[in-house]
Symmetry: C2
Subunit: 346 residues, 2 copies
């Protein structure tokens, strides 16, 4: 069971930049990694932030992440581009891809990009947020770990594929939905193991397809799709957009030869829609406010503390984390500090 220690986001950023630079990453890229990973921690999504650094460090040492990739455009039209990422760390090529989407959206109305043969790119909300900050509706998709059973089956043959959508508002927060298509993210099972707790029935099945409350059995089995057939259907569509369309790995059928953790060869999909091509941005934001206010005006469910919009909790968490620091698992923090010391980070 993990203990927690409060750490300042600035310290996590220093560690991130320092470690990646010592591992051989160009300075600009390392700073970008600091922004992206600490952003997830600030939003309260610690499962997708700096705690991944030891894993990325191992992949870099193994040669499974290319720190100097030759990212190639393999297909292109006015509104679309397909990238071959040359084993780039997912975050870096994803920023590039979303920047291209935004630029195409400003010019042609919409931009979409696929990314093949990249690695893990962390939380999708960062990339959709880039589009929202530029006055666009942003969409970001990746094909996550192949850990989910299809509806009607029990073998994990489809990813927990997550999506994010971000939408500008007049509120201090951006509407930002970031969710996996499983009932819960696989990290919740890992957390239950760390805490020595059971998981609720309905999250996962064991290797024989029997619903289980034992997180260790769940790890040997499969996660279940959100709402059964609907989450399963969404996961397939997201894998079509990220994996099938862009020429990269999809489902569980590629990458095996290259790396035994087959699910670690990721494909991504990004899209930006320029709002001003439909309606003036100020009017759009006013309409968003109307929608939000109307939703919040309804009666609360028993026990509910409020009707919140996607991204609102993450905004509140960010404010708290910025002022008070981040409550961080001690073993992970120790691992980061140890890695930094080994690499000679100042």
């Amino acid at each position: 069971m993990s203990e927690y220690r409060v750490v300042k986001p600035e310290r996590l950023r220093e560690l991130t930049v320092g470690i990646f630079v010592k591992l051989g990453m160009p300075q600009d890229d390392a700073h970008r990694m600091g922004d992206i990973l600490v952003d997830a921690d600030l939003r309260g999504v610690l499962s997708h932030g700096t705690r991944f650094i030891p894993t990325y460090a191992k992949w870099i040492k193994d040669g499974w992440i290319n720190l100097h990739p030759q990212i190639k455009v393999v297909a292109e039209s006015a509104s679309t581009v397909a990238y071959e990422a040359d084993d780039s760390l997912g975050h870096l090529v994803s920023v590039k891809a979303m920047e291209s989407c935004i630029q195409r959206a400003k010019q042609f109305g919409i931009g979409a990009a696929t990314v093949a043969n990249a690695r893990h790119c962390g939380a999708m909300a960062y990339y959709s947020q880039m589009a929202a900050d530029a006055g666009c509706i942003g969409h970001a998709v990746t094909n996550g770990g192949v850990l989910m059973a299809p509806y009607g089956g029990i073998d994990p043959t489809i990813g927990l594929n997550p999506l994010s959508w971000a939408v500008p508002t007049n509120k201090p927060w951006t509407l930002n939905l970031d969710m996996a298509t499983a009932v819960v993210a696989a990290s919740k099972v890992t957390q239950a193991i760390e805490k020595g707790e059971n998981i609720p029935l309905g999250w996962a099945i064991d290797h024989e397809g029997v619903p289980t409350v034992d997180p260790l059995e769940a790890k040997k089995g499969a996660m279940l799709p959100l709402g059964g057939v609907k989450g399963y259907g969404l996961a397939i569509i997201l894998d079509v957009l990220a994996g099938v369309l862009g020429g990269g790995r999809f489902g569980a059928n590629q990458g095996l030869e290259k790396y035994q953790q087959k699910q670690q060869n990721y494909s991504h999909f990004f899209m930006a829609i320029d709002i001003e091509k439909f309606i003036p941005l100020a009017e759009f934001k006013d309409r968003m406010d109307q929608m939000i206010d109307r939703l919040k005006a309804g009666r609360l469910a028993p026990g509910s503390t409020g009707i919140l919009l996607p991204g609102e909790i993450e905004y509140n968490t960010r404010l708290r984390h910025q002022s008070e620091g981040i409550s961080y698992p001690v073993p992970v923090l120790d691992e980061l500090e140890k890695l930094a010391t080994e690499l000679g980070v100042a």
Copy 2:
């Protein structure tokens, strides 16, 4: 409780075309309505097919559907177009909008269209399928009846907003996902009332927010979002795309003045992505086959009769309906025949 009678799809098409022509709809539009509504019946989605005709007929008589709309382009860019539908029946303007998306996709990579101030457009799968038939990935969204409670709330302030995605394959069927963002569609509650049955806990709440198995209480309350916070988040995003972005009705805050059934002023969103802008279509379809075959190769869950893809059941149903006819609720069929007789359909 409804009885059922087998009816040939050709008969339903005759009734549809005949009724709409007598109601004053142009011939071409009436034939298109026959295609669209009978298509839903053939797919087994009777809730969204010809059974809606008496409702549409009433709206036409009430002046709430404009049979000769001046559909206007209110904003346009290379890849995008925003339509003001002038109270068009949703199906007809939706076909026009998706045709424009496909054409833009072929030229610029992607096409997207919003439709404001339209009526109900039936099942979304028809429009996404148009794109798939043209070698595109198709996406269709509408903001459905405002019958769903937000996560944390109990008043129905958000639509059950459905989406469809269609993707070409080499199989005899197209991958076609068509789903609402509620646990189940509201029509399932209606069907339970018709059959005199209870509904499962988890579908809906009563007017005070208490989970209910009584479909009559559910009708006075609200439907629940798919997977709680996730379905709620998706429903919001879909309303942003269809309603907020396009200048039409969204949530429950518009249209009240014009028609008391406030949820009946619909906004729609369509998108087509040209596959060939990313990867040759034949290669894409081969990759789809790999994904499908890999999913189907897994072990079956206890009691499962097979691992199916979205759209596969609907394809099998269509084959059966084409050869054997459609088992159709007698009261609805009687109503259609009566309406046809009253209007003097031959």
